[in-house]
């Protein structure tokens, strides 16, 4: 290449690159995606994962149900409660209710037979009940602490029996001589207790990513609505008698249907595709009424939000950046990217105040087999209210397009006759 041509190419390269910077500088939404969103993610994820990577997570609060009435069992449970925050419950139902209502983070059930026939405590007669949102690290610490506590109780018993030779006997003793049964308490998630099924990753993932996917209808909705508005197609439809209400409602209907197709697809993925790769199969043993209600409410909220964004943005790029970015942030807060059980309690509270959080709460409750009216109805109502508010926000900038005069172009209406010159 001659020096002249090389100089030309270099100049072209420079000018074009400068043009890209100029365009970028005039695209605040694009810049927001590049800078603001990652910063927000750093903030959210740092708070979300705060307790996941620490070596000593806080011990969860516990509720105790002591079914073994032997004095050693009672004494052991009392000693635990003296050292750690704990409540006592009189029945399995009361403890289950307390865990479900998050009055306590975990339940400890000391079953009859905790004191074995050989006079040793049995760790396998202790059951830890975990709420569906407890952090795994915190649950693991509780399990380890309980196991250690039971072992110490066993050691004390052995020492008491051995008398003066205790230190010699304990030095040679293995765990099986100090503890009867497995050395660690068993763990059961509330979901498993209530549904009789085993907690699996797919059972958690499908509702989470379904919610996320449903909210992404903003992309196709914005594509159509912005084109219709910018090309004048909406106005033209209005001259054919179509009100903005009908125009919005038609999109609502179409994209709600799309959400249901998404749902079917995600269910198939969870049910059949995941097992093909060695994962668990999604259980579809769900309550049909709560299931339909939650999907419908989630879909309404997702489409409503998408319509509001599409109605208030001028270009598809703007809508895609705003809608996509907003969804990702909402998803992060709600617990889509990182399961809510990994979040510290204050982030869990925050995540309950986002539309995706309401949807995720309700749908996970349905998919995890423990839905009830108190869980589903408030969240479905919040989602429907959010959808209605979004639809109103979306209708507002379009309202002029459906002026009554346009819909009655074929009538003998006299326009603006009140203010004649």
């Amino acid at each position: 290449m001659s020096p002249t041509r090389a100089a030309l190419r270099a100049r072209q390269l420079y000018r074009l690159a400068a043009k890209e910077w100029r365009l970028l500088a005039r695209n605040p939404h694009g810049l927001a995606v590049l800078f603001f969103m990652p910063a927000l993610f750093v903030l959210i994820m740092s708070l979300t994962m705060k307790n996941s990577l620490v070596d000593r997570p806080p011990l969860p609060s516990t509720g105790w149900l002591v079914e073994d009435t032997s004095p050693p069992a009672t004494q052991w449970a009392r000693q635990w409660r003296e050292q750690h925050p704990a409540q006592v419950f009189e029945s399995a139902a009361a403890l289950e209710q307390a865990v479900a209502a998050r009055e306590v983070e975990a339940g400890v059930r000391v079953k009859a037979g905790w004191l074995g026939e050989d006079g040793r405590p049995r760790a396998d007669r202790v059951e830890i009940w975990l709420g569906n949102r407890i952090q795994p690290a915190a649950a693991a610490r509780l399990r380890a602490e309980l196991g250690y506590s039971i072992m110490r109780a066993g050691m004390r018993m052995a020492a008491a029996e051995a008398g003066p030779f205790a230190s010699a006997m304990l030095a040679d003793a293995g765990p099986t001589e100090l503890l009867a049964g497995d050395a660690a308490p068993g763990i059961r998630y509330l979901y498993e207790i209530q549904s009789g099924r085993t907690m699996t990753a797919v059972q958690q993932s499908v509702p989470a990513w379904l919610v996320f996917g449903m909210f992404f209808v903003v992309i196709p909705i914005a594509g159509v609505l912005i084109q219709e508005r910018n090309d004048g197609t909406l106005v033209r439809l209005a001259t054919f008698g179509v009100t903005p209400g009908v125009a919005l409602a038609s999109k609502f209907l179409a994209f709600v249907l799309l959400n249901w197709i998404q749902l079917g697809f995600m269910l198939m993925v969870g049910r059949w595709l995941v097992p093909l790769f060695g994962g668990d199969s999604l259980s579809l043993d769900v309550h049909p009424g709560w299931f339909v209600l939650m999907v419908a409410a989630t879909s309404a909220a997702a489409v409503g939000l998408a319509l509001a964004i599409a109605a208030w943005t001028r270009t598809f790029e703007h809508a895609a950046a705003l809608g996509g970015g907003l969804n990702v942030v909402l998803g992060a807060i709600a617990g889509v990217m990182v399961p809510r059980m990994l979040m510290p309690p204050n982030m869990q509270v925050l995540s309950e105040w986002s539309p995706m959080g309401w949807a995720l709460d309700g749908l996970q409750s349905v998919f995890l087999g423990d839905p009830d009216m108190a869980t589903i109805l408030p969240r479905a109502a919040l989602l429907c209210g959010f959808a209605a508010a979004c639809m109103a926000i979306g209708w507002w900038p379009l309202r002029r397009i459906g002026r009554r005069e346009m819909r009655e172009m074929g009538s003998d209406t006299i326009i603006a006759s009140d203010n004649r010159v």
Binding site: D231, R236, G410, S411, D412, S417
Partner: protein
């Protein structure tokens, strides 16, 4: 159709000012749309042509003034926007069916009107083709065909031939002339003076929202004011609007 020369739409003393604007976009405009007559709506960019059309179709509400329509039978008004106001991803036939289905007519009548619009705009071979895969000329014809589905008594055309080849332009102009001949009242907004001269018998020339000239085309051409008639419509246009560039 009503070729009897009756007034279908009458606008009187229209004034419209955009929010946050210091000057009105339309200021004291009078207009009569008469059956079987085409009015050329002329003006530089920003003169107020599109705003006037917005007022006539009801998209905007005049700040002052009145727009009246014939009471009985009420005229049907259709609008052909400057943009391709249709669905590019739909086939031409699907676009026509969609808009026809929006009208308050039964399906048989809708099919009849679709067939008529296809015939009028020669869209037969493009019915199964996506609009976005059609040429600009075909899309302009489809744009017009959609408006014709309403069987309008009044047709508002906003630069209907922008960006098409001479053949498509000639075809579209022929169709507009036929519509006028059949009794349709036409308001034809354009920057192409020869088109307006070809199609329109009356002129409404706007600038800065005000009427600079209005009346019979021939009379306006003859009334240059210095004794010599204007050579053509472009000369008349430049005479009134001057040569200064506009935004």
């Amino acid at each position: 159709m009503n070729p009897d020369g009756s007034v279908l739409v009458e606008a009187e003393g229209l004034l419209y000012q955009y929010p946050n604007s210091s000057a009105p976009a339309i200021d004291g405009v009078d207009l009569r749309l008469v059956a079987g007559e085409a009015i050329g709506l002329l003006g530089p960019n920003g003169a107020g042509k599109s705003t006037l059309i917005d007022l006539l179709i009801g998209l905007r509400h005049p700040s002052r003034g009145a727009i009246r329509r014939r009471a009985k039978p009420p005229p049907t008004i259709a609008w052909v926007p400057q943009e391709y106001a249709l669905y590019p991803a739909l086939e031409c036939g699907e676009n026509l069916r969609l808009f026809a289905d929006m009208l308050d007519i039964d399906r048989r009548e809708a099919t009849r009107r679709i067939d008529a619009a296809i015939e009028t705009c020669r869209l037969g071979e493009f019915i199964d083709r996506q609009a976005q895969r059609c040429s600009g000329g075909v899309r302009r014809r489809l744009n017009l065909a959609i408006a014709l589905l309403a069987q309008p008594d009044v047709l508002l055309l906003d630069e209907p031939t922008a960006g098409v080849d001479p053949q498509s332009r000639a075809f579209l102009l022929d169709r507009v002339r036929e519509l006028v001949r059949d009794g349709t009242a036409v308001l034809y907004a354009s920057h192409y003076m020869e088109e307006v001269s070809d199609v329109c018998s009356r002129i409404l020339l706007l600038d800065h929202g005000r009427v600079l000239a209005s009346g019979e085309l021939d009379a306006l051409l003859a009334s240059a004011g210095d004794g010599e008639p204007h050579a053509d419509l472009e000369a008349l246009f430049m005479h009134y609007t001057s040569r200064s560039l506009r935004d």
